[in-house]
Symmetry: none
Subunit: 206 residues, 4 copies
Amino acid sequence: MGKVTRRERERQRHRREILAAAQDLFSRKGFDRTSMAEIADRAEFAVGTLYKLFEDKQALYRALILDTVREFEAALSAALNARGSEIEKLERYIETKADLFVRHIPTARLYFGQTAAAQCAPTVGLDRAARALYEKVLDRLESLFRAGIRRMLFVEVEPKMLALGLEGISNAFLPALVERPDDFSADEMAALTKKIFFGRVSLKAE
Amino acid sequence: MGKVTRRERERQRHRREILAAAQDLFSRKGFDRTSMAEIADRAEFAVGTLYKLFEDKQALYRALILDTVREFEAALSAALNARGSEIEKLERYIETKADLFVRHIPTARLYFGQTAAAQCAPTVGLDRAARALYEKVLDRLESLFRAGIRRMLFVEVEPKMLALGLEGISNAFLPALVERPDDFSADEMAALTKKIFFGRVSLKAE
Amino acid sequence: MGKVTRRERERQRHRREILAAAQDLFSRKGFDRTSMAEIADRAEFAVGTLYKLFEDKQALYRALILDTVREFEAALSAALNARGSEIEKLERYIETKADLFVRHIPTARLYFGQTAAAQCAPTVGLDRAARALYEKVLDRLESLFRAGIRRMLFVEVEPKMLALGLEGISNAFLPALVERPDDFSADEMAALTKKIFFGRVSLKAE
Amino acid sequence: MGKVTRRERERQRHRREILAAAQDLFSRKGFDRTSMAEIADRAEFAVGTLYKLFEDKQALYRALILDTVREFEAALSAALNARGSEIEKLERYIETKADLFVRHIPTARLYFGQTAAAQCAPTVGLDRAARALYEKVLDRLESLFRAGIRRMLFVEVEPKMLALGLEGISNAFLPALVERPDDFSADEMAALTKKIFFGRVSLKAE
DNA sequence: CATGAATGAGATTTCATTCAT
DNA sequence: CATGAATGAAATCTCATTCAT
């Protein structure tokens, strides 16, 4: 099977090269303003080759999104499933997400654009599979909050809402990060997120 | 002058009708996937008429975004400039925003898509004027936080970051709102936002 | 009939104003690149008014061309019908044409574009009537040459060809005139035309 | 290199086919009244193919004009640079031009429309490069006349004007040629041109 | 498999013409 | 009559997709 495997390895390498080119273009210009010819150019393949490896433009995009969300989901789920208290797990989650954002902004933009922002800032219909992966993360967050509330670690707020709230804050600095990448470190972003989310902003008793 | 005024009134009415049609379509499908023909159809005008009232597609979009952001900016600035302590002003801000979101989801989607999400989820180049209006709101928030910190109402965190954080949370429930509009009231959304942002989620001392 | 006459006078004045605006635009930009709205603007009328006075754009153009060619034809025919020998008549013709060219370049451009250049540099289908007027001039020239040859004033060359040749030379300086209107006087142009056409350029016997 | 060459050869063949179709249409109907769809139809390609080979409609037109003027310039310059006296060179020039006109009327129409008639009958902005080529011919003519005058072969008239005058006559029969192609031979046209230009039309001393 | 020329549907935009006021 | 808003056909141009080499 050496032959098949070599072929298959090549195929996968080409696939990755194409996706890398596509990531850069899609993350900067969006789906509609990126043409297949551009992607092909950038990846140094002919358009026909893109169509050999992906059904059509949507499929290529879906594959890219799936890769992106999968990468995030893997790292974030790992953080959420690590040892420790609910608070420790969430802190790990926040740190991981900040790290992912800072280390690979294009991926972050795609992730954000396809998850939190997806229903609001209208984009190309996001993939079922990608959506499901993100929901898995959201559900895990919700469970953690529910458990934490039961153990009286967190205030009594609908856990689903806490999960969305955490997403909101942990995404909040992404626009600033995109604009001035050098002004942000992952550590700072994580620290900020934790302080605002877990601490109290207001110093007076409510 | 009846004649001039009547003509002009009609013109403005048509302009509004076209913008209304455009708002619905753009907010659901985005700039690129909405065609001028569709907008014309929906507004019950001929394409040519759109071009009489707007230079081109971009101009129509810009006008819509400007209207949208202006509407939000006016309401939010009013809230931020009302009487009261810094906390009260911010609470008013949160309530106003929640109210705007719940009462007019398409506007909210456009607002969100063109402000917070703009740098991340790549959209059509947003208007200078609209951007400036949003920055005005952000700056006002920042000032409020700065003043509040000086008066020891808020924790010592860079005020700009607090402003971004507040934006993050107050936008956090919009995706959920878009998906199930009937499950959310403005009051609940505002209450949630305040609780998470001002209160402490974690009950243990950090 | 005072009333009808006043109306009619007004109507004719408006007609002339519109044609004046149209002349400038058509002569500089050509038929296709001049819009009815532009002509209306320039003439300070509404588009509707243009359509009250002219069937459609073609008709307006035809009317303009007819006016232009009529003006030329009148002056040129007068020159050709004046007293004198064939040579004197032709000299008068050349002087008149040079004078018309120099004094009103836009008219000259339209005249040239619709007569000599018409079959070659493709323009909008020229009017039958205008064509007929020009042919009248050509025919008159031909007769003059024929008579002149009979009286042994001119070389024996097909008179039609002499007429075309004269047209060729008398038009030859128009491009230069259009480019640098101040470098040419009617007298010089006429003198040049006569020298080349009637005299001999070559000094050796053929 | 067979592969590269074959592709490129095909490409050039298609380019020529498109230009041929365009030449026919442009020379008969002009730039504005010829649509890309028509050219595509006539050339039996899809519109998209035209845009693969030419930036846009203007570029296609420019390419055609450049080809046309280049072809003429090459032949005419060759005639002007051949051996012989100034008179012989000019005679060769006249013969060559007549031959080009008679043998390929569409090319002649485009050449005339873009050179002599260009400033008068308003056309689409003519190409710098094409203009420069024509000026080269004009300059060469001027030099020849200047030299000839010095050698007392020609009358003392500004050489530039003699050049324009020769152009005027040598173009003079083109309209007639276009209308009745079968009535003209290149030899006759050339003979006529020479007789009128070099000889004297008038038999009396001026 | 890889290639990239060819396709043609569809989008944006212009403008001659009409017609209600 | 004058007006100019409204119309919609037609033109230019782009780009996802196919397919012969």
